[in-house]
């Protein structure tokens, strides 16, 4: 059959294509994806070579999971609609959570402000101007109590985007649950806790890589014993992509980060099948529709191979790549912001066709500020329209078998393995980061893209083409300085009311546990329950471990 198609394709080119091109030439010499990948005019079975359905795709819910990790995918349960949200005081954000839940959102996702993300309190000099701006300010257990006030933690799953101080914020969440009478065993949710991508891309690191990794593995160990339904990490390509990586770089660096965590956990003496089912992933969904779908499918197939063949995991759940997706922040434009609604819809569709487990759709106003209530409602409605009106959730992996998508899936996988091999040769991801390798690769890609836009090789509607004079801006959420005053006031109150000797005692126990190289989670939990502040706990660790400064390169 293949021989015949090859012959027929040659004939088609001669008899049909060439005469057509002579009168109607193509618009460009070359068609490329947003990542610069060349795309052919047409895909046929020839592009798939000796394609073996059972080997490459198989059935959903079975190895290698290319078509999905669940046999029925969205026919059983729709993806979780999880809007990342947090701003101002814990009271402000608590109100927004209750609103989102009342509008049909099915999971919570906490965005913290920059002082929280960097593990300092609001009264630190570097926190000036940053309190409550990029997310909600949580400096003590009191803030966390207010944040989840009236939200039953046994009924809801919560994702927390927190990295360097992830162990501390997770401990606060566990402590709030305890106060609500909800035991750790039933808590569901995720902490991002992916420190490697911070060195690579987002740069919200605090400690050097080695102690940071120790802390991550502490959470794996503690979680698998004490909080068994919790995802103790969300291995994230999102930020790598936002920093300018191509689709392949996003995929490869993320999976190689995953490999690094698994290696460290095994070195700790953990059994791979005990913690691997709690690993989760987080990818970006960018503008290039088919490239993104292929990336998600390749990711599932690659991780299954990694877990089964490289790490010899026995439990099929260890082979699953479960992932959250967020539509691409950098693809949103400040110019003609209503266009962003359309961009988000296309990106969200790619994530759904790629089989995501949960989804955040960006709001149209996010190039200006954190989203307004109106903008976030449209973003949520976009997901609901996809889920309930478009019909895309009716069947599993609808694009499976497309010559184009399968061929893209194969080549993305191949190129990603190449990167993984290279990083293996460097001695792993921590080594590669110290060499500045992934950082440099991403910088090259982001500079290439900027230049391509400026040369108009890449068109951005409303920015370098179809530009118009805009008089009115859309309404945006504005966080003023009264938030900082309120938060600082509360911080002072908590410090005054708490039992100081208990604070000193728990912090000094933590310090000793660091010296003794113990699992720090129980000690951190004691600290937060004693209302030690985030900054105090992190300072104790800073004192022991030092902080990280990256080598400057551009």
């Amino acid at each position: 059959m293949i021989d015949n198609i090859e012959k027929e394709k040659e004939r088609w080119e001669k008899e049909t294509l060439l005469p057509y091109l002579s009168t109607a030439p193509e618009r460009q010499n070359e068609f490329t994806t947003v990542s610069g990948r060349k795309i052919a005019r047409l895909y046929t079975p020839l592009d798939l070579g000796n394609f073996d359905y059972m080997k490459e795709l198989g059935f959903p819910g079975e190895y290698p999971f290319t078509r999905g990790i669940h046999p029925t995918l969205y026919r059983g349960k729709l993806w979780t609609m999880r809007q990342f949200s947090g701003f101002g005081t814990p009271e402000d954000t608590n109100k927004r959570y209750k609103y989102l839940l009342s509008q049909g959102q099915t999971g919570l996702s906490v965005a913290f402000d920059l002082p929280t993300l960097m593990g300092i309190d609001g009264d630190h000099p570097l926190a000036k101007g940053e309190i409550g701006k990029c997310g909600v300010a949580v400096y003590t257990l009191r803030d966390m109590e207010i944040l989840f006030d009236g939200i039953p933690l046994d009924k809801i799953s919560t994702s927390m985007t927190i990295n360097a101080p992830a162990a501390v914020l997770w401990a606060m969440y566990i402590a709030v649950a305890e106060k609500q009478g909800v035991p750790k065993k039933v808590l569901r949710g995720t902490i991002q806790n992916d420190i490697l991508k911070e060195y690579i891309a987002q740069k919200e690191y605090v400690f050097p890589p080695n102690p940071s990794m120790k802390l991550v593995i502490d959470t794996f160990e503690y979680g698998s014993k004490e909080v068994p339904l919790w995802n103790t990490i969300s291995i994230s390509g999102y930020h790598i992509r936002e920093a300018g990586a191509t689709a392949v770089q996003e995929l490869a660096f993320t999976l190689r980060d995953g490999i690094e965590y698994v290696e460290w956990a095994i070195k700790r003496g953990l059994d791979v099948d005990e913690f691997a089912p709690r690993l989760s992933f987080f990818f970006n969904s960018h503008n290039d529709f088919f490239e993104e779908i292929a990336k998600f499918r390749a990711a599932r197939r690659m991780w299954a191979k990694i877990m089964r063949d490289r790490f010899k995991a026995k439990n099929p759940r260890s082979w699953w790549l479960r992932f959250h997706t967020q539509t691409s922040g950098v693809s949103l434009m400040a110019q003609q912001p209503y266009n962003n609604i359309v961009r988000v819809a296309i990106q969200a569709l790619a994530a759904v066709l790629g089989g995501t487990q949960s989804l955040h759709t960006n709001s149209m106003d996010e190039t200006y500020a954190l989203p307004s209530e109106q903008a976030v409602t449209i973003a949520l409605r976009t997901q609901q329209i996809l889920a309930y009106e478009s019909g895309v959730a009716n069947t599993v992996d609808p694009l499976g078998g497309s010559y184009f998508v399968e061929s893209l899936t194969n080549s993305i996988e191949e190129e990603a393995w190449e990167y993984i091999r290279k990083i293996d040769e460097m001695g792993g991801m921590v080594k590669a980061i110290e060499l500045g390798y992934p950082q440099r690769e991403i910088q090259e890609s982001s500079y290439w893209y900027q230049k391509a836009v400026e040369r108009k090789e890449k068109i951005i509607v409303g920015v370098n083409e179809f530009v118009m004079e805009e008089k009115e801006r859309i309404p945006i959420l504005y966080i003023d300085e009264s938030v900082a005053e309120k938060q600082l006031q509360r911080l002072r109150e908590v410090k005054k009311e708490r039992n100081t000797s208990r604070v000193k005692e728990t912090l000094s126990n933590l310090k000793k546990a660091v010296s003794d190289n113990e699992n720090l989670m129980p000690y951190i939990l004691d600290c937060v329950k004693a209302y030690c502040t985030l900054g105090e706990i992190m300072d104790t660790l800073r004192e022991m471990w030092g902080t990280y400064q990256e080598p400057v390169q551009f």
Partner: protein
């Protein structure tokens, strides 16, 4: 006497680590023939002004995306004035709400480059405005 290259300091004040924009601009300015110094992340206003002084720069480009501009930029301008560096051209790039732009200009920022700005535009602006 050979003409001195225009010297630019690209700085990231505040806690934010998103440095894609800062690095793209730094590299584009270097490719355009300027002498570029990049501070790295999480610099205080004091550190930025000290580096600007030591490096004797003509231009400071501040990249801020976190919303902390109203606290950080005036402090930097104040310190520049104290050190007698009022002639340094200060540019801000990033996520700046429209309502804050008049304030930033009133404290002495020469221009604010918002998302979608091309690097060529920034190069052109610097070439026009730096006194040679």
């Amino acid at each position: 006497m050979s003409k001195r290259k225009i010297r630019v300091l690209i700085a990231k004040p505040g806690l934010d680590g998103h440095d894609r924009g800062a690095k793209v601009v730094a590299r584009a300015l270097r490719d355009a023939g300027f002498e570029v110094i990049y501070t790295g992340l999480r610099q205080t206003p004091e550190q930025i002004v000290n580096t600007a002084l030591q490096e004797d720069v003509d231009v400071i480009g501040l990249s801020i995306l976190s919303g902390a501009h109203n606290a950080l930029v005036p402090r930097i301008m104040e310190l520049l004035k104290e050190k007698g560096m009022d002639d340094v051209l200060v540019l801000v790039g990033g996520i700046i709400p429209d309502v804050d732009i008049p304030f930033l200009k009133s404290v002495g920022v020469s221009e604010i480059f918002l998302p979608g700005t091309s690097t060529e535009e920034i190069v052109r602006f610097i070439n026009e405005r730096v006194k040679k």
